[in-house]
Symmetry: C2
Subunit: 130 residues, 2 copies
């Protein structure tokens, strides 16, 4: 698999038309999944170069599991496949934003909530959001 | 400054009412800032324990700059202070979601866009979103 290029200048990195993701020392980049219709932030996960390539090529979200140290197609076991409506990258190309439509039961979180961000910090403790 | 506790069990981590953030080997946790009104994802940044505590205590977003290796109050120089409407944590408490209202010019990105995620990957290249 081809590697992604490295942006030669800051201007290329920030304003260029070349996808030149900056993976960290572990070869990973943070990826935020946002519901394409509701705008709800569903989860934050990690991608290696292969996961990002597969996401771009297949239109379905792939991540890299740090705990399992393995490529991971979202929904492969849960059915919560994420159809990708849009892939964005940030200014310094070290974070990815996916706009997705979750399949299956429409959720994204293994605990059973629609979004992984189901708890709000309030007055020193966590409260499950309605 | 007091440390955050460690969740004793997976159930406490995922369903508990105690904020027990899991900082990485560098002492950092990923933080996504989302516009509290529009739902637009504005940026992804990093927090150390101090940045998270200050964010909770002051109601204004603080981050940790990996490039400058320093605590950073968002907007201190740009004026793009982020008033925090809500702080959320994810299922395994290794990512934070801030719902914020950007002050100043209403933007979040040093390049001049409202959101750092201003480029869309399309057919192998990046296009600035309208």
């Amino acid at each position: 698999m081809d590697e992604f290029p490295t942006a030669p200048t800051t201007h290329d990195l920030e304003r260029g038309a070349v996808l030149a993701p900056r993976f960290d020392a572990n070869g990973l980049i943070a990826a935020v999944a946002q519901h394409a219709q509701s705008g709800e932030v569903l989860m934050l996960a990690w991608m290696n170069a292969e996961a990002l390539k597969l996401t771009l090529e297949t239109g379905e979200a792939h991540y890299f599991s740090r705990s399992r140290n393995a490529l991971w197609k979202k929904g492969e076991t849960s059915g919560q496949v994420q159809k990708v409506a849009e892939v964005r990258i940030d200014c310094d190309q070290d974070a990815v934003l996916l706009k997705v439509v979750p399949q299956g039961d429409g959720g994204a979180c293994h605990v059973g909530f629609r979004s992984c961000f189901y708890r709000v910090a309030e007055d020193g403790s966590l409260v499950e959001a309605p």
